[in-house]
């Protein structure tokens, strides 16, 4: 091999190995993305699903979390973000409002989560929305199952 060929091979190897490494490093520093559609997560709309202690997923909106849960078995714990304060609350304790305001354009999600009744009421009035109750609440079944399994686990532990 001539010196020129060795040089050419070295540059080629550098590109072929270096580009994937650089790309990986660049992406590592990026902000969190939705586990369902890969979109960037806006903090006030974040939804987290915990199946096991080390099996946690973040989503960009309620709709993505709902669709992801449809394809995954288990009793997940769903945490939603209160849009007013930005803190996480269990989905079973949240008050959901369906309004005209779209949170994520890709999914068209219009359901909003709030920690207290007054904030939910205010949003419903200002954005032509309504508070969701009963079976119309998002994750109604999942959270009920989770509650039931938690209760059964607690009882069995007590016994």
């Amino acid at each position: 091999m001539t010196r020129r060929q060795i040089m050419f091979a070295a540059i080629w190897l550098l590109i072929v190995v270096g580009v994937p490494l650089l790309g990986h490093l660049a992406r590592e520093s990026q902000s969190a993305r939705c586990a369902f559609d890969g979109q960037p997560i806006v903090p006030i709309y974040r939804v987290r699903v915990e199946r096991l202690a080390d099996d946690k997923f973040s989503f960009c909106c309620l709709e993505c979390a709902r669709r992801w849960l449809e394809g995954h078995a288990g009793n997940p714990r769903v945490l939603v973000t209160d849009e007013t304060s930005g803190r996480e609350i269990p989905a079973s304790e949240a008050i959901f409002v369906r309004s005209q305001v779209v949170t994520t354009s890709a999914t068209g999600n219009r359901v909003h989560a709030f920690a207290n009744q007054a904030d939910a009421q205010r949003h419903a009035e200002s954005s032509n929305g309504q508070i969701l109750i009963g079976a119309r609440r998002p994750f109604a079944q999942d959270t009920a199952e989770h509650k039931l399994s938690t209760k059964v686990n607690t009882q069995s532990t007590a016994e």
Partner: protein, 382 residues
Amino acid sequence: MILNAYAVLDLFLCGIRVLLAVALAAVTVQALLKSRKTRSADQEIDQPSGQENRGYLAMLLGMILFGLSLAAWPMLYLLLDSYIPQWPGVMCIYGVTQIGRGTTGVSRFLPGILTTIESLRPLVVFLAGAWLVAYRTARRAETDSPLGRLPDSRQTTFPQPAGVLAKGSLWLLVALACASAVDAGLEAAYVVLPKQTAVRSGGCCTMMNADNRGASGIFTHGDTPAPTWLWVSEGIVLLGMMAGLAAVAYQPVGCIRRGRLWLLCLGAAGTLILTSLFLIDIAAPWLLRLPRHHCLYCLFVEVPESLLAVLALVGGGFAVGWAGVLALVQTRRGWQQNNRDSAMPSDAESTVDEGIRRLLRWGLAGYVSFAIMLPLEMVLAQ
């Protein structure tokens, strides 16, 4: 019509490409027709003939069209990317490609037009590359005119090998001009056709593919493991191609068997098809870290280095294809007649063989690059 900076630039490019393609087709067909006629007796040998001038013009037009076709490829996706915010619910380029599906107006042609453009674009680049390769080899075989010496009944009973190559490259230019004209015309039609009123039917790739199945129909649910046969066959085909290319490209001069070359061309086409399935069903969800997401558009946007790996593979496949085109030109009647009685390979034959060998080496480099880059990216993304 959605008017933005990309749409204007794209329309401008389309206009130029159509004009160039028509001019190229006219010049090339004229050159092909004239090459059959005898040169006039009073023509000066040392003066450039009209035929040679046509050759220069065709070469120039072909070069410009090649450059514009290359530029138009990413331009199309930049245009589609700029359309994403136009419709609520469209998340990536896949969503834009679905605009018009299920409608009744002229918008219903939009997805079909776009699919045709997406298929024609690689074909145009392949044809342009094939012409360039044939042209360069013709130059090497005989360098007294930009297209080699065209077949001329006054000079010899049988066409010269370089002349056969030159004529082959002219036919490739005709094909390039036709494909470019159709491609550019369709793209202009796509830009101009009304879109805003089109009803969206599943514009988001996540909602389309993730709920039901992968693009190739292999996956049914998110938790289904990747099919083993696809992993195995992709590995076998890639390794087979690399071994085959290394064996053929590094053979001694004058020993490339055409049967092996055709087999490699077939393998290259098969590898491209199989790899596209592999990318959609396995690599995209893996690299995006989204088990239900089988979208190549999202893959190339979110993991841009994967595009480099795919381009290396496509380049490798094209190089093998171009080697096949060179060999195809070599098997034409004029060439064979010229070399029938010769036991040793002629200079022109050696030149073509060397050209094929060089292309196969480039092809091997492309396949090896892909075989290193993609697995490395997948290991890093794990």
